[in-house]
Every structure is written in C-alpha cells, then in structure tokens.
Amino acid sequence: MLMGEAKEGDLLQGTLDMLILKTLARGAKHGYAIAEWICASSDDILRVEEGALYPALHRLELKGLLEAEWGVSENNRRARFYRLTRAGRKALATDTKRWSRLSIAIARVMGSA
C-alpha cells in the first residue's frame, strides 16, 4: 500500500516513508523526535534531511497511514504528534517483508561479486 507498483524504483522516497512508519511503531512522536530517533538508532549513519521530513509526514497523513494531533512535548511545548493508523501498521508490515527480501537479494548480489 505504501509503495505502490509505480513507486518500486523510488527507493529513497519509499525508504524514508518506511523508516518513519517503523519509528512510529512504538508510539506517537513529533517530527523532531522522529528525525532524532532515526539518527540515533542508525548510529548516526542515516541523517534525515529535515526539510524533506515534514513533506513526507504530511504525505503519509494524506494517504491515511498516519494521524496527526497537537499535543504537549517533553519540554511542555505545543507539538504536532504523529501516530500510525491501522492502514499505517499494515503498510509497515508489507514494507518490512519487502525490505528484508530486497536487502537479502542485494546482499547476495554484493556478496557474490
């Protein structure tokens, strides 16, 4: 659902979406926290381009994979929190499966060289 047939080759875009979904699997977060979490959990390897993060979030929201709600952040400020919808969870599951197949395949290709 997240990665339609037409977007198969759009690795970067799709990957960011997938990472966002994965990040939100544990619970609602605001944009900044998402960026930080991706960064931290990839040991600083994946640095989300912050300018691209928000359009991705809004796009996912429009697709109905995320829900957004204004809440209060850890430092008591108004922040926009994103949460997975049921559709978002489903998309995450499909993506995870597809991703693991893809990464194994790529690893094979790279390993055989």
Partner: protein, 882 residues
C-alpha cells in the same frame, strides 16, 4: 478510504486556511527550536546555534510552501481566484458586462429554444416503446404522387402477413365535441384503435389494464383508456378513475386504464394530445358503410411492430408482394399505381408529405439562431479586445511583476467564461419565454401540432453548451493578444485591426439575416395579397360535427343540417354550409370520369357546399347555375365545376348538361354550372390554376363535419355567441366549435413564414445594432488615442472636416467589407429559404446591393458620429497638455 481521508484533510485546510497555515509555521518553528536547544546543549553558542539549526533544516519557507501545496486544490484553487477576480472586474465595468452579456444571453436563449423545438418535433420519444422496431404504413399513389391513409382490407391483409410482424394496429384520431366526463359537453381528441394497438405501441399502462383484442370485438363492453394528463388534472391521479364512465359520441365507456406519462402516439401533427383511446369497433357506425371490405375507404393510420430480427426492408418486401395482389381502389382491375409504404417510426412523426418542409423550416430557425449567436460572439470578442487595450497598463504591470503569460491567458479566459456563464444563466428565462410562445405557432403545414415544451433541460443544456463553447472560443484570440501585451503597439494607423474585422463580420451576419428577412417579408406580402377570388371579409366560421355527435343516418343528417341552416338564416340571412372552408389544407380527391368515356379517370380536389355558398363568398357563376336549395338526397345528383375543371374535361365546350361519374356512385352526376377559378390551397403554397369541383353537401354519400359560414354586417366574432346558441338549440349533442373569422383562417397558412421573417428581422436588427455600436466605440477610441496626431494635423493647417472624413471613411470601408463578406452567406441563406419556404424568390442583384448599401451606410454613420468628436479637439489645448 484513502481518498476520503485526503478529501477531509484538504477540505479542512481549505476552510480553515488560517489555522492550517499557522499550524504549519508552528510545526516548523518547533523543530527549529528543538534543534537549536539541542545544539546549545552540545555547547554551541546561542547566536550560532540558531543559524546552524536553520542551515540543517534547509529552506524553511520552501518546506512550508510544499506542505501547503500538498493540501492545495491545485489549479482549481487558482481558477477560483481567477473567477473571483473576474467577478470583481465585472462589477467594476458594469457597462462592459451588460454589453457583452445581454446579446449573448439573447442568442443562447434563442438557440436553446430552437433546439428544444427541434428536439420535440424530431427526436424526443413520443412514448411508443422500442421505436426502432415500429413502422407506420401508408398507401402511396404513384399517379397522384401522394401518401394516403390505409383501408381496412389493407390493414387486415398486413396484419395477416406471415412471420414479419409481432403485431399491427390501425387507428384514427379525431375530435369529439360531445364528451361528457364530469361536467357538461366538452371537446376532446380521441383515438379509435384496433385491439392490438397497445401491444403494437408497447404500452405499459400507468394504471389499470391496456386495451386487448377482446375489447375490439362486436358486442364487447365499451371500455376506454384515459390519458395521463387527464388522470392528473381531472382525477388528481386517484385510482378511482378505474370504473368511472365517460360518454363519447353518445356511447358510455368504462375507463379501465391510464396511458403512460408523456404518451403522444406516433403522429405528432394529428390530434396527438388525445384524451381517450377507445376500441374502433365501438364506432362502427362512424365509418363508411361496409368499410371492412372497401379498399377505397382509406381512412385508417397503421402502426406495425416488427418481429425481433426483422428489418424494415423485409417488411417492405412483404408489403410489395401484398400490394401487387391487390386490385385497384374501385375493385375493377389490378392497379400498378398502388403501393404500400413502410416508414420507420422516426420518420413517421408527421404526415409524410409535410415532413421534408417541416425539417427544412426547423433548419431555417436553427440557422437564424446560429446567426444570432455568431453576432453575439463577434460582439464579445470585439469587446474583449477593446478591454484588453484599455488594460494595457495593468497587464504590463503584472508581466513586470513576474506573472506568466499563460497564467494571464488563463485569467482572461476565465473572465470570458464567467461572462458566458452569466449569459447562460440569463438565457434560461429567454428560452422559457420563447418556448412558451411556440405552441401558438403552426409548425407543420398540416394539422396543428401539439408540441410539449415543458422544461426541456436536455435542449437547454445543449444550447448553453453551444453558447458557452463558442463564446469561450471567441475569447481565445483576444486573451492571447492581451497577454502578449502588444494590443496597442500592433495597431498602426491604416491597417485593419482585428476589431475592425470583427465589426465587419457582424455586418456580414446582419447582411445574411437582413437578406433573409427581406425575402421572407416580400414573400409574405406577395402571397398574402394574392387574389383569392372570393371575399373573406366579414365572414364567421364555426365547425359542427354531426358524425361524432349523433351519428345520424344520411337522411337524418340532411334534415338536421337543413333545419340548422334555416334557423341561422333567421338571424343572419347570409349563411351557408361547406365541408371545408377555403383555402384548405385537405387534399382529398374525387375520381371523376366522363360518362361518355369508359377509360380515363381523373382525380380532382373537391368541396361539398350548400346553396348560398357561392353567393356568400361572391364567387361568380359563369355558366348555368350554382348549388340550389332543392339539391338534396331525393333529387337528381348534380355538381358544379370550376373554369379549369370545365376546360380539362370538356375543352372548348360548354359542360352544362353533361354527365360525370364520381367515385363508385351508381348514378352519374349532371354538371349544372361552372364557377370562376379561385384559390383552393393555403396561401403558403404556390397554386397554378387547378381543376376543382363542388357537390351539394346533402348529396354526398358519407357524412363529414362541416363549417358554418355566416356573413355578418359587423365584427364576425361578435356573432359567435348567437351562433353557438342556435346550434345548441337545434343539435344539443353536436356543439359548434373552432369559431374564427374567414380572414384569419385564410391567413393562417402564412404563420410559419411570419415567424421565420420576424426571427430573421430581429436577428438582423441585433447584428446591425451591435456592429454599429462596435464601430462607434472603436472609432471613438481611435480618436481619443490619436488626439495628439489630430491636433498636430489641424495645427499645421489640415481642415477638421477632412480629418473627420478620413476617420469616417474607415467605418464606410468596414461596412463595405462586411457587406461583401456577407454576400456568400446571404446567398446561401437565400437558397436555404427557397428550399424551406415555398414561393420565395431568389433576391437578385438589387436585394444584395440594397441591403449592403444600408449596412455600409449605417457603419459609416457610426464611424462619422465617433469621428465628429474631432471637431471638439482644440489643438492648442491638446498640445499644451503634451
């Protein structure tokens, strides 16, 4: 699901625009603050941290722009802005808007009304189910080259055809003037139908049951179907209509069902607004004696439903075989002249003879309306161009500020579209008004036709679409020109501008319409003043139908009619009866044959008249005598010829005293007199001298309705009330109807032409007015723009009069160019007219020169009026300002 979610979010962003934008800003600000905080936490200096956070985020403005675009409505939103801008422009330039919208609204209204007429007359379903499988059958006489109704034996033969037909029905529509439903006597149209009628027409009743073959057997209980409008208006759609009784022609019918809504039957121009359908068998007595076996009793219409898979060609082939076996109308020999013709339902909406003329008349109206639309569109384009010129500064400023040219074109097109949409909205009342006026117009040359035009959105939509499309198309060039920002630059003095071309095009359209209007007007004048040969002035007509009223025997009918005539003459001595008032649309003929010959028969148009008829109409009797009071059923059968008939039958001889056989009458008739030739056919037809015969009305062997003619000293209609009372007193069950003056009756045939002429006249006037206004406006604009040049010319010694003349010449040239441009469409329109309206002459040289001269002069006058402002130019003032 996803789509719904998107729509919800987009709608929220649209309706809570402010909130949404604040949210976007806040979300980004929050992120930047958090990052700044975190960097400070890592020991970065406060002033640097902010910049670093922003650098890491990238272009925040662009991001918020992207977020906004995600929820935008794309081009729709831009369009909406354009629409709002266009509406504001319209409000600001009221004069411009009215000048653009009003002609357009008129034109679109006209074309929509014409479309709905065309639709109603030619295309709209008449209620016959699956009409592609239905055919009408006519008898066709090759010798007379005309279509006739069918006889009962023909119907019986066709119904019996093997393997071709699903069902076949015969019917006859007529008016009964003695229908008793809930209140007194009423006039209603009634269809008398054979048993399979409902099956052949594919009728699913709205209530109750259809008519079935058992209802049409001798001795069956009289039952009737009511029309839907009757059920609606008289019974408020109550089921209690079933079982109610209605008396028609003295027979009491039980209503067993209601026809479906909108059912009009097959023929639209023959009493199509019928109120009842009853079995033919019940009115056995109305028809010629022994009609079941007489092939000369051609009075039935036929409706045949083909079997699935059978094409009309196969049906026609079967009819051809059938016709070849049938003897001639008089039953004497086989008749090569005789043919049965099947017409598909789509072509059987009129009496076949009237179809072609009707279609051409409709085409004529479409052409007139299209001309009006073209004129309005040229007007619109020319106004848009003028406005583009006036908005040069605004356009230049917007281009300088970075607006794309395409964006500007779009905006101009939207402005144009908004104007067109307003015109469409305004055209609705125009179309409705015109549509309401139609039913009074005689559409066909045959019987009057009932056209139902209630709220026809299909045609209205089509008309509007045509109007919208053409008006937007006509805005494209001005829009592109305007967006190029070079409207003014391109206009060098002396070169014809696009606006001048548009004015010329309007003149051309006006020329076309004017030529048509003149031709039609000439034709009406010519035909309307054609000598009739009798005096129609001061004569009152009223119809009486004893047949459907009393169905008397021939002897009774003679007695009643004579009593009626005598009673009327006590009040008004100048009174007579005739089967048909002249000029007549009927084309019924008699077969006459000189008693001395055995071979040649001639078909001659005829009328049945009482004594006093020739005297009343002042038709001169040139030989022998006219019809006398003594010419009745008991006396010697006689007839009167007109001059042409006498010349045809006995060239160079006096026919008085000779004998003629008429149809299958047992005794030959004696010619007792000859009257002068007069006009017999409607004024709308050209009529060469034609043979015509008169028979005494009481001596005819079948009963027909008749027209009472009364000559009155004063206004004829003032006598109508008295006449109605006399008829009601003598024959209570056959009330008089259709009161009118003979003057009106004679002119009625020209109605169609009058409508066309009025429409063409109105359109030519519209075109001329708009062209003149356009020429004046552009002339005035040119004077205003070239004030300096003019001032210099005058200052260095040019005479103001010469300058004025040079400006006015331009208008003259536009007019001449337009007239030349209009020659071709005008000639084409004249050709269309000649084919659509009988009697129209081709205009000839003088018409085109005359019309062209009028238009060119009008154009020149408009330009002169505009240029005369030059006289007000004071060179000193103008140059001082500069």
């Amino acid at each position: 699901m996803t789509g719904w979610n998107q729509l919800r979010l987009r709608l929220r962003a649209l309706f809570h625009r402010r909130d949404f934008e604040r949210d976007v800003e806040e979300e980004i600000a929050f992120h930047l603050d958090m990052r700044e905080h975190s960097l400070q936490g890592q020991g970065m200096d406060a002033s640097v941290a902010r910049a670093a956070a922003q650098a890491r985020f990238g272009n925040a403005t662009r991001t918020s722009e992207t977020l906004r675009e995600l929820r935008s409505w794309g081009w729709i939103e831009g369009m909406w802005q354009d629409v709002r801008f266009a509406l504001r422009q319209m409000r600001l330039n009221r004069g411009f808007s009215v000048a653009a919208i009003l002609p357009l609204a008129l034109a679109i209204g006209c074309i929509a009304a014409v479309f709905s007429l065309v639709d109603a007359v030619l295309f709209r379903p008449t209620g016959v189910a699956d009409p592609s499988r239905v055919a009408a059958v006519y008898t066709f006489s090759r010798a007379q080259n005309r279509y006739l109704s069918d006889s009962y034996p023909d119907f019986r033969d066709i119904r019996g055809l093997d393997g071709v037909l699903d069902s076949a029905a015969a019917y006859i529509a007529t008016q009964f003037n003695n229908v008793r439903l809930t209140q007194g006597l009423e006039s209603m149209n009634v269809n008398l139908v054979t048993g399979d009628y409902c099956r052949a027409a594919g009728i699913v009743t709205a209530l109750g049951r259809p008519l079935v073959p058992e209802d049409d057997r001798p001795g069956a209980a009289p039952v009737a179907l009511a029309s839907y409008p009757l059920w609606e208006n008289r019974f408020q759609r109550s089921p209690s209509i079933l079982g109610s009784t209605v008396s028609i022609g003295g027979i009491s019918f039980t209503i067993v069902g209601v026809m479906p809504k909108g059912y009009q039957g097959m023929l639209l121009d023959w009493y199509s607004d019928s109120s009842f359908w009853v079995p033919l068998e019940q009115f056995h007595g109305l028809f010629p004696a022994d009609y079941e076996n007489r092939r000369d009793g051609q009075f039935l219409m036929m409706l045949a439903r083909l079997r699935p898979g059978v094409g009309i060609e196969r049906f026609q082939a079967a009819l051809d075989v059938l016709a070849s076996r049938v003897a001639d109308p008089l039953g004497k020999s086989s008749n090569p002249d005789y043919r049965l013709l099947a017409l598909p339902a789509s072509q059987a909406r009129f009496w076949p003879a009237y179809r072609a003329a009707t279609v051409r008349f409709l085409w004529l109206l479409v052409a007139v309306a299209a001309t009006a639309l073209a004129i309005a569109c040229f007007n619109l384009a020319s106004l848009l161009l003028a406005r583009a010129a006036a908005r040069q500064q605004e356009i230049a400023a917007r281009l300088a500020l970075g607006a794309g040219r395409l964006r500007l074109v779009r905006q101009f097109l939207v402005e144009n579209g908004v104007l067109a949409a307003c015109a469409c909205a305004l055209s609705v009342p125009v179309a409705m008004g015109l549509a309401a006026w139609y039913p009074g117009v005689q559409i066909t040359q045959g019987f009057t036709m009932t056209v139902k035009l209630d709220a026809d959105w299909r045609a209205l939509g089509l008309g509007m679409a045509a109007g919208l499309l053409t008006s937007i198309l006509s805005g494209i060039v001005p829009a592109i020109r305007a967006a190029r920002g070079d409207v003014v630059k391109r206009r060098k003095a002396g070169r014809a501008s696009l606006q001048d071309l548009l004015s010329a095009a309007q003149v051309a359209c006006a020329m076309t319409a004017l030529a048509g209007a003149v031709l039609l007007g000439e034709n009406i004048r010519h035909l309307g003043s054609a000598p009739l040969g009798y005096d129609t002035h001061g004569v009152l007509l009223a119809s009486v139908n004893l047949v459907t009223g009393l169905n008397p025997s021939l002897d009774e009918a003679e007695r009643i009619s004579r009593a009626l005539l005598a009673e009327i003459r006590r009040q008004a001595p100048g009174a007579a009866l005739a089967w048909q008032a002249l000029p007549s649309r009927f084309r019924m003929v008699l077969d006459v044959q000189r008693e001395s010959d055995s071979g040649k028969r001639t078909a001659i148009l005829f009328n049945l008249v009482s004594d006093g008829y020739f005297e009343l109409l002042k038709i001169p009797v040139i030989e022998g005598r006219g019809i006398m009071p003594g010419d009745g059923r008991k006396s010697q059968p006689v007839m009167v010829l007109n001059r042409s008939a006498a010349a045809l039958l006995w060239p160079g001889e006096n026919p008085v005293g000779r004998r003629l056989r008429v149809n299958a009458e047992p005794v030959a008739r004696e010619v007792v007199g000859v009257v002068e030739d007069t006009r017999y056919r409607p004024l709308s037809e050209t009529q060469p001298p034609m043979p015509y015969v008169f028979l005494p009305i009481f001596q005819f062997t079948s009963l027909l309705p008749f027209e009472i003619h009364v000559r009155t000293p004063n206004e004829p209609l003032a006598f109508a009330k008295t006449l109605r009372q006399i008829v009601a007193q003598v024959v209570p069950d056959a009330p008089a109807y259709d009161f009118q003056t003979l003057d009106n009756f004679a002119q009625a045939g020209l109605m169609q032409m009058r409508v066309a002429a009025q429409a063409a006249r109105a359109v030519s006037l519209l075109g001329l007015l708009l062209a003149v206004a356009g020429i004046f406006a552009s002339g005035a604009y040119r004077v205003a723009r070239q004030k300096k040049e003019i001032a210099i010319r005058i200052a260095i010694g040019a005479e103001p009069r010469r300058v004025i003349r040079s400006f006015a010449a331009r208008g003259l040239w536009i007019g001449i160019a337009g007239a030349c441009l209009g020659l071709m469409p005008a000639a084409w329109g004249a050709a269309l007219l000649r084919s659509a309206v009988p009697g129209v002459e081709s205009g000839g040289f003088s018409l085109y020169v005359g019309a062209g001269a009028i238009l060119a002069l009008a154009a020149a006058a408009a330009a002169l009026a505009a240029a005369s402002r030059i006289a007000e130019v004071q060179p000193a003032d103008v140059l001082r300002v500069q």
